[in-house]
């Protein structure tokens, strides 16, 4: 078939495949030709982004379900197939991924000097995996991409990271892997339960959505999914891998980690955990909401006293992701749309923050706040970018952060006043730690001789910072295009959620499956 037809019918597959192909081609490049390798990688990611734009172009705003769906039987005898699709929930996270990628690549020009080839290969593999995670609508396929993400990230941290990189890399890998293996068991269980009830083997998410799962089983399956996603988000008590990973990872790694990988967790909650197990989700809501709120405050407080800029940003992520979780578990339109938007926002602004940190790190090879001060005078352009990003991370109106946080809190306030109230204080703390950090880094007199002759951002750095700033303002000033495309899907989600919840509580045809028995007998008093 011709290229056009290919794009026409297999756009999403192309999106998934392209980076991988790029990586494969990259293997044939000579190790010395760093320039060629970099440019080629950049080219691939840019093309990827352009292609993903056509997804937006072809996206039907009115449709709630999956779009541009492709399904190919994979292991048909077990109902496992390759199904990809995009809807209002995944659209913008997908776009975020493809958008952040070229920027990240561009940021590594001078940062990554050794083993450039391998680095770029891993980056491209990573992109395939991430895109796959957000597009897969077959549980098995999803899990494969989900795990696949770990390997390249593990290498990025472990090989190109700081001095405690190995500890950080292994911690990251084991932490998240341990979390997700239980999800695998849960997926299997769900799969067999579906078979036991309907007599059909399938991993097709859309089919599994239609299944009504008995409450006790839901609780256990949800628990497993919760672990996997909570580790990834990361939610409050499971967050300690994040600061290590962020601090040790190379700039590019941190950016991807913050911008996309963390979203895999929140996205997972929305797409899988909450959608599949509504009753359990509802049951768990108090716990999760409490954890989220604690995360918001806790992350902010701990961020405030950090000495290392990257660590500070890492903890601020814990705080921001807390907002997202809170929004998701409001189960209403404002909350969820706000959460999705906030995922994108966090991706953009925190990603930008890490790039900012990377820029000074490249120049001074330190990230300790105390090493800086008074930079504003020598690097005005940098100061400007830093300021805008800081404001967006604080959530000042007019920047993207505000819209997201406002919608989230608005949604939460409707269902859980006090959670919203406490969470809103996080907005104050955010201002405190970000501005304090900004002040200590940029303001005051230059105390450290080395900072006297810092070079301001060069053309390349401006080139990759600019798009981020633009989106920060765009989403802040005119978020409609983004919100409008979520509406239908989120609406459908909320309504289906309610319906399924009622059905399950009504105890409709449960299907006395092995599993149901297993949990009823062994873990009787699950509730």
């Amino acid at each position: 078939m011709t290229g056009v037809a290919l794009l026409d019918q297999h756009l999403l597959s192309v999106l998934i495949g392209l980076p991988l192909i790029g990586a494969a081609l990259l293997l044939f490049f000579p190790r010395e030709g760093n320039g060629a390798i970099r440019n080629f990688t950049l080219l691939v990611t840019v093309v990827e982004f352009l292609l993903s734009l056509s997804v937006v172009a072809r996206f039907d705003v009115a449709a709630a379900g999956m779009q541009l769906v492709e399904r190919v039987p994979w292991i048909p005898q077990y109902g496992i197939s390759y199904i990809v699709g995009v809807d209002g929930i995944s659209l913008w996270i997908l776009m975020l991924t493809t958008f952040i990628m070229p920027i990240t690549i561009l940021s590594t020009w001078s940062a990554v000097a050794k083993n450039v080839k391998e680095f770029m290969v891993f980056m491209l593999v990573l992109e395939t995996a991430m895109v796959g995670v957000f597009l897969a609508t077959d549980l098995f396929l999803f899990y494969i991409f989900w795990e696949l993400v770990l390997i390249p990230m593990y290498f990025l941290i472990g090989v190109w990271g700081g001095e405690r990189r190995i500890y950080a890399a292994i911690k990251f890998f084991l932490y998240t892997f341990a979390g997700s293996v239980l999800m695998l068991v849960a997926i299997i269980a769900l799969y067999f339960h579906h078979h036991a009830v309907t007599g059909v083997y399938t991993m097709d998410l859309m089919k599994l959505y239609e299944l009504t799962i008995p409450v006790k089983l839901q609780l256990w399956l949800f628990a497993a999914f919760f672990l996997a996603f909570a580790f990834k988000v990361p939610m409050f008590p499971f967050h300690t891998w994040l600061p290590d990973a962020h601090v040790e990872a190379p700039t590019a790694g941190s950016v991807i980690l913050a911008a996309v990988l963390l979203k895999m967790g929140t996205y997972g909650f929305l797409r899988f955990a909450m959608a599949l197990f509504p009753v359990a989700a509802a049951d768990w809501t108090p716990l999760i909401a409490v954890l989220a709120v604690i995360g918001i405050i806790y992350g902010a407080l701990v961020a405030m006293v950090q000495k290392d800029v990257k660590k500070l940003v890492a903890y601020s992520s814990v705080s921001h992701l807390g907002f997202v979780m809170l929004g998701l578990f409001a189960f209403n339109l404002q909350g969820i749309e706000g959460a999705i938007l906030q995922m994108v926002n966090h991706g953009i602004s925190t990603g930008a923050l890490f790039l900012i940190v990377g820029i000074i790190y490249e120049r001074r090879h330190t990230r300790l706040i105390s090493e800086f001060g008074g930079l504003a005078k020598v690097v005005p352009l940098f100061c400007f970018c830093f300021m805008v990003v800081t404001l967006s991370s604080i959530g000042v109106p007019g920047t993207n952060g505000f819209v997201g946080e406002f919608l989230i809190l608005l949604g939460v306030f409707k269902v859980q006043k006090w959670f919203a109230v406490v969470a809103a204080t996080g907005v104050i703390f955010a201002a405190v730690y970000m501005l304090w950090m900004f002040q200590r880094v940029m303001y005051g007199k230059i105390t450290n001789e080395e900072n006297l002759r810092l070079a301001d951002m060069n053309g390349r750095e401006v080139a990759y910072m600019l798009p981020l700033l633009l989106f920060i303002l765009w989403i802040g000033v005119y978020p409609q295009p983004f919100l409008r495309r979520m509406d239908a899907s989120v609406n459908a989600f909320v309504t289906r959620f309610e319906a399924k919840k009622q059905a399950a509580l009504a105890g409709s045809p449960a299907g006395e499956t092995v599993l149901v028995r297993y949990f009823d007998v062994k873990k009787g008093g699950a509730r």
Partner: protein, 491 residues
């Protein structure tokens, strides 16, 4: 006094049913003869002869097809399972021989008996896998083991090798004692040693309550458990594996496991269900112990060879999970995993063989520092195999584990499945350690030059790698094949 009727057809059918075995044995003998004729420098063609023979055997096996062929009045049968395992074993043998080309050169195992022994024990494995009579199984087991004892101790002037061999031998003999006694008891309780016949009698409760019979089955299980090295019958494994010449280690780990599990599969599938939950509980416990002990012990090994030995114990545990749930899904998963394991295990051993650049202390993990970027191909391959062993997508190892655990979940052994996945989470730690050394730690000085892989050797690695990836990405046909095999066994 009528002369014994000579049933030509039966004989032919019998011979036909063991065609691959015949080929392998023939090759072995041929190798021995050729060894006499060939001049010293021509020895390496012995290996090529062996390779050719094995290839032919594979073709022979394929030519038999999946259909059921009984031979020698039900002493042996060529059926689905038989074919599947036969192919697994022959593939193992082939890869081993391909690697042996290189290995023999470096370690001076360029001898006729070396290859002959390999082939003989391969033949033994085949018999064991296809035996439907406990006696055949026993004979096959011995035919497999005795040559391997020799192979393990092949470097007879190297203490480790000899020690490994002796330990393996003594315990092996000890264990086959149990196996035999089990067979004897079963025989005296049922009057037959044919597995299907026993399965037929299982129905009546007299047998079920008969201590002699039950004890017999128990001892039988002990015998097999020893061969597949289930905890606590595993003690010999690390030592034997570490002591043995590395090719042999690879061969044992994959081949012996396959053969023994095939036999165990027949027994469990046909006899255990009758013995009620007791047997299942035992298997459950064994599986758990084996996984856990294997992984934990492997955690801190600095000798990569020994680490892989423990990991092979752990993998025996995973496979046993498939057997715990005595049903099609489980058996099929086990079969599939045996095949996958053969490839990833041989691949891993192959790469470390190259990286070690000398026996014994060459396998210290420290030698791997900085290899990854210096020798990208080797580093990449080893990483691939280790990732697959760890059961991380998109490799065959993941698919294999996925089906093993899903079988467990399907039959309500959720607890076991959870323990299994947690185990594999733990195992990630030690599987990634070589990766850490290869990529994340700088070499102290100049990275030691690995052994130069010969064409055959690299071919072996490529085949394994390809298999690991293909079985990981497109496993449908093989899975279907495994399923058919198990079904054919049950009817």
């Amino acid at each position: 006094m009528t002369p014994i009727p000579f049933d030509k057809a039966a004989l032919v059918q019998g011979l036909y049913s063991i065609l691959p075995e015949l080929v392998v044995i023939g090759t072995a003998i041929a190798v021995l003869l050729a060894d006499l004729l060939l001049p010293e420098r021509g020895k390496k063609s012995l290996c090529h002869l062996g390779i050719a023979g094995t290839a032919v055997a594979i073709l022979a096996a394929l030519s038999l097809g999946p259909g059921r062929i009984d031979g020698f009045s039900g002493m042996i049968v060529h059926d689905g399972v038989g074919l599947f395992i036969t192919l697994t074993i022959l593939a193992t043998t082939l890869l081993t021989l391909l690697m042996a080309t290189g290995y023999s050169e470096w370690e001076g195992t360029q001898k006729g008996e070396f290859y002959a022994l390999l082939l003989f024990s391969a033949a033994g494995m085949l018999f064991m896998a296809k035996g439907t009579d406990l006696m055949t199984v026993f004979l096959g087991l011995e035919t497999m083991s005795i040559p391997i004892y020799c192979l393990v101790g092949f470097h007879r002037d190297r203490m480790t090798s000899l020690e490994g061999a002796l330990k393996y031998f003594l315990l092996g003999a000890f264990a086959s004692g149990f196996l035999l006694y089990g067979i004897a008891l079963i025989y005296s309780a049922t009057g037959t040693t044919k597995i299907p016949a026993i399965a037929g009698m299982i129905g009546d409760l007299r047998l079920f309550g008969n201590p002699v019979f039950v004890a017999g089955v128990g001892l039988l299980l002990v015998g097999f458990a020893f061969k597949v090295s289930l905890v606590p019958f595993h003690m010999w494994t690390p030592d034997a594996y570490q002591g043995a010449p590395t090719v042999v280690t690879a061969f044992m780990a994959a081949g012996v496991k396959a053969a023994a599990f095939a036999a165990l599969l027949r027994v469990t599938m046909l006899i255990f269900p009758a013995l009620g939950p007791g047997m299942t509980n035992i298997l459950w416990v064994l599986a758990f112990l084996t996984m856990t002990v294997g992984n934990l012990a492997a955690l801190l090994q600095d000798n990569v060879k020994r680490m892989l030995a423990y990991s092979s114990i752990a993998h025996a545990g995973y496979i046993l999970v498939g057997l715990v749930s005595v049903d099609v899904a489980g058996g099929q998963a086990a079969l599939f995993y045996l095949l996958v394991y053969a490839f990833m295990n041989l691949g891993a051993f192959g790469v470390i063989m190259l990286l070690a650049h000398r026996e014994d202390d060459g396998y210290d993990i420290g030698n791997f520092k900085g290899v990854g970027f210096r020798y990208p191909a080797l580093g990449g391959l080893l990483t691939l195999f280790l990732v697959s062993l760890a059961g991380i997508p998109p490799t065959a190892g993941f698919i294999g584990k996925f089906y093993l655990f899903s079988a467990a979940v399907k039959n309500g052994y959720v607890g076991l499945a959870v323990l299994g996945v947690l185990n594999s989470a733990v195992s990630v730690y030690y599987y990634l350690r070589p990766v850490v050394y290869m990529y994340m730690l700088p070499a102290p000085g100049e990275v030691p030059v690995p052994r130069p892989p010969r064409t055959a050797f690299s071919l072996a690695l490529c085949i394994s790698a390809a298999a690991v990836l293909v079985l990981g990405l497109a496993p449908r046909s093989v899975l279907a094949f495994a399923e058919r095999s198990i079904l054919s066994l049950l009817m």
